[in-house]
């Protein structure tokens, strides 16, 4: 067994480092300027030439999808990990907290909408949806949330706390926790009023 493998890896690690830089830069630029962030600015921020962006991501769309994929992957993994938690209600709240915290730093709604057509993102989103569904099922079974709530409901409400805060011009960094608490109170069994519409179906 020789150390020859080291240089081979280093070649790739250069490219991998650039890829990471690009994802980070894209993440930051999209956070600051939305989808209109230019590829040129992303490249500059990543410290690479414009052409390098397209070596890693064939189109801007693909770059957006790659950024989104990192977020959705993290969320999916979080949901899966929490399936082993002892208290289903606390697990669901924890998931929503992590989800909002992540999104607090970056509003990925736009990005997610833009990459709806990406098959990888679609798969990850389905997996995330499934994970949330399981969390909700467990929480519902033990009475931690109201009976008439589905995983899809929670999936759709996941980002609400952050969106609420976005309307504020200069919010305190943890303000979203306030709105998560309010919305979670709305999900609880106690004091629940009948809902006027049936839950949506997952496509």
């Amino acid at each position: 067994m020789r150390i020859v493998s080291a240089p081979v890896r280093s070649l790739r690690s250069d490219a991998a480092r650039n890829r990471e830089s690009l994802l980070a830069a894209a993440d930051a630029e999209f956070a600051e300027h939305g989808l209109e962030a230019s590829v040129a600015d992303i490249a500059r921020r990543a410290g690479v030439a414009k052409g390098t962006v397209f070596r890693h991501f064939a189109t801007k769309e693909e770059l957006i999808a790659a950024v989104v994929a990192t977020y959705v992957t993290t969320l999916r993994d979080t949901a899966r990990d929490l399936l082993d938690a002892e208290e289903p209600g606390a697990a669901l709240l924890e998931f929503l907290t992590v989800a909002a915290d992540q999104r607090q730093q970056r509003d990925i709604t736009l990005l997610m909408t833009a990459s709806a057509g990406d098959s990888n993102v679609a798969r990850l989103r389905d997996e995330l949806h499934a994970g949330i569904g399981s969390l909700v099922d467990r929480a519902r079974d033990c009475g931690a949330v109201r009976k008439d709530i589905t995983g899809t409901d929670v999936f759709l409400l996941m980002c609400a706390p952050v969106h609420a805060v976005e309307y504020s011009s200069d919010p305190s960094p943890d303000l979203w926790r306030r709105y998560l608490a309010i919305i979670f109170d709305g999900l609880r069994a106690e004091g629940a009023h009948p809902l006027p519409q049936p839950p949506p179906t997952w496509p």
Copy 2:
């Protein structure tokens, strides 16, 4: 009164009609394509030349702000009207229903963010905020909503039901009512848990 005034008036009414056409066209185009809707398309839809857009609105930003202003004005008036309602709790729910219904048809979050710097929009928003504050005060006073909720909270949560629905790929037209009901349940006094963060201050 001279005859000259006749053509002047007709010109003015022409201009006024153009302005209305432009606002309607801009509203529709922004609804379909978001902020990227082009001035050229808006002009075409309004049936006027591109140059005419800029005679009425010096920049695209100003046009966006004008569209936003129509929405915020309507909401402000709705809030004010509901101050005379007999049941404060029902009045607040009605306001949130109207707000969500209006936004259901047009996602103006983007527009609103884009026109945050417009002084007219800022004024209208402040007035809307004040109206919501009064609605909430009345509802809180009679126990229809929890004690620890402020008008600013409701202002920020106002759009949450619509945003939740936006994540859905093919929502039923009234799905937002489901999420408004859930969130409103979270605002009720009944079954409220303590909130982890203090309410935000209005700038």
Copy 3:
């Protein structure tokens, strides 16, 4: 009848002048650099901004097709005019002379290939083909060209004299006449040998 029509026309004449400048500039640039001539260079040569090119021609392809159309139109008209000539053989030779002379100044083979998909160019080409067909029919009927020649043959050979000259590095300006004469000798009835392949059909 008022002179009001004058200013209206002048508006258009400004645009029309730009359109003509653009066609001339494009013609020249394509002649010098082939299809790789850049839109920016064409705009510069025409003395207009880049954006103006796209106001007149939505895509570069459309511009190419417009240039080609001017040539094909001229040729079609030439063919039609010569249908009234007294001597069919001389008329056909005259047509080929005009065709080669026009192409001597600009090699439009590439352009024509590039704009094969343009419907206007296709129509003009069909009309040109029909005109050449009539010229050839008349010439054949009076024995000026060999019996086994069709209009499509002449259409395809039309550019051969110019192409031959293009291989020469520094040809005299009228050298193409030499090759037209040789090829036309090949089209004559006198001394014709049987042809190994049937004539092509027009699509």
Copy 4:
């Protein structure tokens, strides 16, 4: 003879094989996409990395010239071989047939124009020109072609049959033989009309 030579040799033969692969790939790509064929596609088709292309050919121009050289070399050799043929007229026709057949498969006009400045191609072209000159001299001496024709004339007309066919949208594979026959009839002594221009001089 040392063992070291083995890897060295194998490296060389590898390089030679790569060179051949590249020429074949370039030939095919240029045939399919013209001069715009990308170096990346050529490398991929040859099964080597992009960098390897530039190890063998310093620039894309050089690669084009190398492809052209293979064609011109073949033609030159064909011309030289046919100098020993018994029937000068048939030999000239055979040469033109081979030339057109070769070009039928690949349109190298563009390539040839692009590599006009390459000294190797220039030398080969001169040798080809000389060979054609000898073929024409012999044919002229025995009356197989008209008196006023030179080798340069035939050199320039060599590609005409193929070019004629290129205008056709869907030609039969042997259509060029028809136009070669017509043009060759124009080169014959019988029925020749005086030519309006003197023959070109070879640079």
